[in-house]
C-alpha cells in the first residue's frame, strides 16, 4: 500500500456531545413508560385482554432478551476464541448484554402476575385430572419455576456485568492481564450460558404447551437468539457509523464479517428448525405432533389460520435471507446489509410470536396490545442500552487486540 497508515483517534470514540445518541435514553424511556402504561390500561379491559396482555408482554420481553443474551454469547465466544477481528464491535455487544438485568425487572413481576393466564400447568384442577401434568409436577411447579428463573437471571446478569466491567477497567488501566483473565473464564461462562439458556427455553416457552417436549428446543431457542443478536449488532454498528462515530474505525471488512455470521446463523437456525419439524412430522407420534398441528392447521391462504404464519417463518426466516445475504456484495453494502439485518430482527420477532401465541389463540390474531407491549419493552430496552452506551468509550480502547481488529482484512 502506497498510502500511509490509517490514523484512529481513540479519545474521540465516545458519543459526541449534542448527537442524537445523547437524547436516546430520555426519549426511548418516555416511549417505554407511555406504552407500558397504555398496555396496562388496555389490559384492564376484560379477562380476555388481560390474557392477551400477558402473552404479548412475554413475546416482547423474550424478543429483547434474546438480543441481550445473544450479545452476551458473542462476547463470551470472542474471549474464548481470543478473536481479533471483532474487538471494535465488542463494546456494543457488552452494552447490549447488560440490558438483561433491566429486562429481568420487566419479566419477573409481569410473568408472576400472569402465571395462571400463561401456563396451563399452574391450574390445580387441570393437574388433578391430568396424569402427565402430575408426573411433571416436580419440574413444572411455581416454586421451582421461580427458583430457576432467578438462577437464569442471576447467571446472565452476573456474566454480562462482569465482562463489561472488566473490559471497561481495561479502558482505564490498559492492564493486559484482564484480557487473559476474561479469556480464561469465558469457557466456563459459555458452559453456564448453554445450560441456563436451554432450561430457560424449556421453562418459559416449551412449558406453555406442557404436554409437548422436544430435546432440540433449547438449541432452537439458542439459534434464534444468536440470529437476533447479530442482526441487532449489525444495525447498531451501522447506526453509529451513520452518525459519524465510527469513521475510520469500522470498515467494510467488519460489516462483511458481521454479515457472514448473520448468514451463517440464519442457516443454522433453519437447520435446527427443519430438523425439529421434520423428525416430528416423519415419526408422527400424537403426543409430539400436537404442537405442530396447532401451528399448521387450516389452509395455506387463509390469514386467520396459523399455517400461513408458519410458511412465512420458513420463507422469511430462511429462504429469502439465504439468497439475499449470500452474495459478498450485499454484505459489504451498508444499505443492503441494514435491510437484511432489520429483516432478520423482524423475522426473529415473528419466530417468538409464533412460539408463544398459538397458546392463546387457536386462530392467528393480532392485537393492539402486541404493538403497545413491544413499544413499551422496546422503549425501556433502548433507553437502557442508550444509557450504557453514553458511559465511556464505544470500543474497548486499550484492548491489546484492538489494533489487529482495526487493521483486519478478510481473506
Amino acid at each position: 500500500m502506497a498510502h500511509g497508515p490509517r490514523i484512529v483517534d481513540l479519545d474521540r470514540l465516545v458519543i459526541r456531545p449534542g448527537s442524537g445518541w445523547e437524547r436516546l435514553p430520555p426519549v426511548a424511556g418516555a416511549v417505554g413508560v407511555v406504552f407500558t402504561a397504555l398496555s396496562i390500561v388496555l389490559a384492564r379491559g376484560s379477562g380476555e385482554s388481560t390474557k392477551q396482555f400477558f402473552h404479548s408482554w412475554l413475546v416482547a420481553v423474550v424478543f429483547f432478551l434474546c438480543i441481550g443474551l445473544g450479545c452476551l454469547f458473542f462476547v463470551l465466544i470472542h474471549h474464548a476464541t481470543k478473536a481479533g477481528w471483532g474487538v471494535v464491535v465488542r463494546r456494543l455487544a457488552e452494552n447490549l448484554a447488560c440490558t438483561v438485568p433491566v429486562l429481568a425487572v420487566l419479566f419477573i413481576p409481569v410473568v408472576a402476575l400472569g402465571m395462571y393466564d400463561l401456563f396451563h400447568w399452574t391450574h390445580a384442577d387441570a393437574v388433578a385430572h391430568d396424569r402427565l401434568l402430575r408426573v411433571k409436577e416436580p419440574w413444572l411447579n411455581e416454586t421451582g419455576f421461580w427458583i430457576r428463573t432467578g438462577i437464569y437471571f442471576v447467571v446472565w446478569s452476573g456474566l454480562a456485568l462482569y465482562f463489561r466491567n472488566a473490559s471497561r477497567r481495561q479502558d482505564d488501566s490498559g492492564d493486559e492481564t484482564l484480557s487473559h483473565r476474561m479469556a480464561r473464564f469465558s469457557p466456563v461462562a459459555v458452559a453456564l450460558f448453554a445450560v441456563t439458556l436451554t432450561f430457560a427455553g424449556f421453562d418459559w416457552l416449551m412449558s406453555l404447551e406442557p404436554h409437548w417436549y422436544s430435546t432440540m428446543f433449547g438449541v432452537y431457542f439458542f439459534a434464534g437468539t444468536v440470529v437476533s443478536a447479530f442482526a441487532a449488532l449489525t444495525v447498531l454498528t451501522l447506526a453509529f457509523e451513520r452518525s459519524g462515530h465510527f469513521r475510520g474505525v469500522i470498515t467494510g471488512e467488519h460489516f462483511h464479517d458481521l454479515g457472514k455470521l448473520l448468514f451463517a446463523f440464519t442457516v443454522f437456525w433453519a437447520y435446527i428448525a427443519f430438523s425439529q419439524f421434520f423428525l416430528i412430522w416423519y415419526a408422527n407420534i400424537p403426543e409430539e405432533t400436537n404442537w405442530f398441528l396447532s401451528r399448521l392447521h387450516g389452509t395455506d391462504l387463509n390469514p386467520a389460520d396459523w399455517r400461513p404464519a408458519t410458511m412465512l417463518l420458513a420463507i422469511g426466516h430462511f429462504a429469502v435471507p439465504f439468497f439475499f445475504l449470500m452474495p459478498r456484495t450485499i454484505k459489504r453494502n451498508r444499505t443492503l446489509l441494514l435491510v437484511g439485518a432489520l429483516w432478520m430482527l423482524a423475522m426473529h420477532l415473528w419466530d417468538v410470536f409464533w412460539l408463544v401465541m398459538p397458546n392463546l389463540h387457536r386462530e392467528m390474531t393480532f392485537s393492539l396490545l402486541d404493538l403497545t407491549c413491544l413499544l413499551g419493552v422496546g422503549g425501556v430496552f433502548l433507553a437502557t442500552a442508550g444509557w450504557l452506551l453514553n458511559r465511556g468509550s464505544l470500543v474497548p480502547s486499550r484492548d491489546p487486540r484492538l489494533v489487529e481488529s482495526l487493521a483486519f482484512e478478510n481473506i
Partner: protein, 486 residues
C-alpha cells in the same frame, strides 16, 4: 517435550507463531517432501504390514459373509442392527473432523489448520471408504445392492426416496466425492512441488499427470482460491447434513431412545469429537515418525484438545438433555428406555461411553493436560473407544427391549463381528500408510502462507492508534500487518 520453542502461550498483543523451528520456504519444502522422496523407512513397514494383515482379515470376513450370509453375525430378532451399523456410523463420524479442519476452520480463519488439514482430509476419505463398505455388505443380498441407486431397470422400480437409508446412500457417497475433490484441489500445488523435485522419470510422470501442469500462475491462484473458499463453504453445511442424515436413520423411527429431535446436532458434535480424537492419534504418531514436531507443534495439539473438550461437552449436554426430556416427557416408554440404558443389561456399555466421552475430556480444562503428550494419546484412544460405544449403546440398547416383552433378547457379537470391525481398521490404516508414504503429509503451499515472510505487507504499519487530537506521540500502537489466527 523437547520443543525448540513453546508456542502455546498466546500473547495478548500479536500472535504466537504457528510453526516453530525457523523454517523458510525452501526448508519447509524439504521437510515435507523428504518423507515422500527418501527410501521407505523401516518404521513405515512396522505400521504397514500389520495394517495389511488386518485388511486381509477384512477380506476374509467379507468373503465368508457373502458365502454364508448375515447369520454369521450375532444379530437376533429384536436386535437386527448390530456391528455393521455401529461401525458405519462410527466411521462416517471419524471422517467429520477432516472436513471440520479443512472447511470450517478455514472459514473461521483458524490458520493453525494448515499444518494438519492435509492429513485430516485424507483421513476423511479413508474413513468414508470404511463406512461405505458396511451398508454395502450388510444388505444381505449383496448382488442386488444396486437397488439402492436410482437406476432405471427392467422392473421399472425406483428407490423409496422417503427412506432415511436412501438419504444415507446419497449423503455419504456425495460426502465422499466432495471430500475427495476438496482434498485433490488442495493437493495440486504440492503435487507440482513433488513433480518438480522428482529425479526419476516414473515419478515425474506419475506426479506430473496429477499435478495437471500447475505452474503457480497467479491468474490461476485467483480462481483456485475462490474455488477453495467455495468448496469450504459447501463442505460446511454438507458435513452437518451428512451426520444429520445418519442420525435420521434412527430419529425418524418411533423407537424410544432413537426418536429424539436433538439427534442431528448431537450426532454432528459426536462425529467431530471422535474425528478429532482420531486425528490426534494419527498426528501424534506422524509427527514423531516423520520428524515434524516443529510443523505440527504443541500449539496444534493443544488447539485440537480444546476442540475435543468443546465437542465432548456438547455430547455430554446431549446425553443430559436426552435423560431429562425422557423423564420430563412423562411417557413411560421413553422413561423406560433411558432407565434401561443406564441400569439395564447394557449398562456396562453405557458407562464406558459416559466415562470415555464425558469425563475423559474434562481433564482438558487444564493446560497441563492439554500439553501432556502421553495423556493426549491415551485420551484420544479412550474417546475413540467411547464414541464407538456411543453408537453401540444407541443401536443395541434401544432395540433389545422391544415394545413386546416376548421379543426381548440380548445381542452378543460373534467372532465375525469383531473380525469386520478390526478389519475395517486395517483398511483405514493401510490407506493412511500409503498416503503418508507417497503424498505430502502437510499442505506445503498453505503452510507457506502462514510464514511471516509470505505477507507482502510484512512490517508495514496499516493503522496507527492515537489518543487525543491526533497527537501521534501520545501512545502510538502500530499494527503489524496480517496477524495470525488464534
Amino acid at each position: 517435550m523437547a520443543q525448540s520453542q513453546d508456542n502455546t502461550h498466546e500473547p495478548v498483543a500479536g500472535r504466537a507463531p504457528l510453526i516453530v523451528g525457523g523454517y523458510d520456504f525452501r526448508s519447509l519444502t524439504e521437510a515435507v517432501a523428504e518423507p515422500v522422496e527418501r527410501k521407505t523407512p523401516i518404521g513405515w513397514w512396522l505400521f504397514f504390514l500389520p495394517s495389511l494383515a488386518m485388511l486381509g482379515l477384512f477380506g476374509v470376513s467379507i468373503g465368508w459373509l457373502f458365502w454364508e450370509g448375515t447369520g454369521i453375525w450375532g444379530l437376533n430378532n429384536p436386535v437386527n442392527w448390530g456391528f455393521a451399523i455401529v461401525n458405519f456410523v462410527f466411521w462416517v463420524g471419524i471422517g467429520h473432523a477432516g472436513t471440520l479442519i479443512s472447511a470450517i476452520l478455514f472459514l473461521f480463519r483458524q490458520k493453525w489448520r494448515t499444518s494438519i488439514n492435509r492429513a485430516a482430509e485424507a483421513m476423511t476419505i479413508f474413513a468414508v471408504m470404511c463406512a461405505l463398505v458396511f451398508p454395502g455388505i450388510h444388505v444381505g443380498r449383496v448382488w442386488v445392492a444396486y437397488w439402492m441407486f436410482p437406476l432405471p431397470n427392467q422392473m421399472d422400480m425406483w428407490p423409496n426416496f422417503r427412506s432415511p437409508l436412501i438419504w444415507d446412500v446419497f449423503a455419504v457417497s456425495i460426502y465422499g466425492t466432495v471430500s475427495l475433490m476438496f482434498w485433490y484441489v488442495g493437493l495440486i500445488p504440492d503435487l507440482a512441488t513433488i513433480r518438480d523435485r522428482a529425479k526419476t522419470r516414473i515419478k515425474q510422470i506419475a506426479y506430473g499427470v496429477f499435478a495437471l501442469g500447475w505452474r503457480g500462475s497467479h491468474r490461476n491462484w485467483l480462481h483456485y482460491e475462490r474455488a477453495y473458499l467455495m468448496l469450504a463453504g459447501l463442505a460446511t453445511p454438507l458435513v452437518l447434513s451428512v451426520h444429520s442424515v445418519v442420525s435420521m436413520d434412527f430419529a425418524t423411527a418411533q423407537l424410544p431412545g432413537w426418536h429424539t429431535t436433538i439427534f442431528p446436532p448431537y450426532f454432528v458434535a459426536g462425529a467431530i469429537f471422535s474425528g478429532f480424537a482420531m486425528v490426534m492419534t494419527l498426528m501424534l504418531i506422524c509427527r514423531v515418525v516423520f520428524k515434524m514436531e516443529d510443523i505440527i507443534t504443541m500449539r496444534h495439539l493443544e488447539n485440537m484438545a480444546k476442540i475435543m473438550l468443546l465437542t465432548g461437552c456438547m455430547v455430554g449436554y446431549a446425553y443430559g438433555i436426552e435423560m431429562f426430556i425422557a423423564w420430563y416427557s412423562g411417557n413411560p416408554y421413553e422413561q423406560f428406555a433411558f432407565a434401561n440404558r443406564a441400569l439395564g443389561p447394557y449398562a456396562w456399555a453405557y458407562w464406558i461411553m459416559v466415562s470415555c466421552n464425558v469425563i475423559t475430556p474434562q481433564l482438558f480444562w487444564f493446560k497441563k493436560m492439554r500439553n501432556h503428550i502421553g495423556w493426549l494419546f491415551i485420551s484420544s484412544i479412550l474417546i475413540n473407544i467411547g464414541m464407538w460405544f456411543e453408537r453401540f449403546v444407541i443401536v443395541t440398547s434401544s432395540l433389545h427391549r422391544d415394545f413386546l416383552p416376548a421379543n426381548w433378547d440380548y445381542y452378543q457379537a460373534t467372532f465375525w463381528d469383531f473380525a469386520s470391525l478390526i478389519g475395517s481398521f486395517g483398511l483405514f490404516f493401510t490407506m493412511f500408510c500409503l498416503f503418508a508414504r507417497f503424498l505430502p503429509l502437510v499442505a506445503t503451499a498453505e503452510v507457506k502462507t502462514v510464514l511471516p515472510e509470505a505477507d507482502p505487507h510484512q512490517g508495514e504499519e496499516l493503522v496507527r492508534v492515537v489518543r487525543g487530537g491526533g497527537d501521534a506521540a501520545a501512545a502510538p500502537q502500530a499494527a503489524p500487518a496480517g496477524g495470525g489466527g488464534a
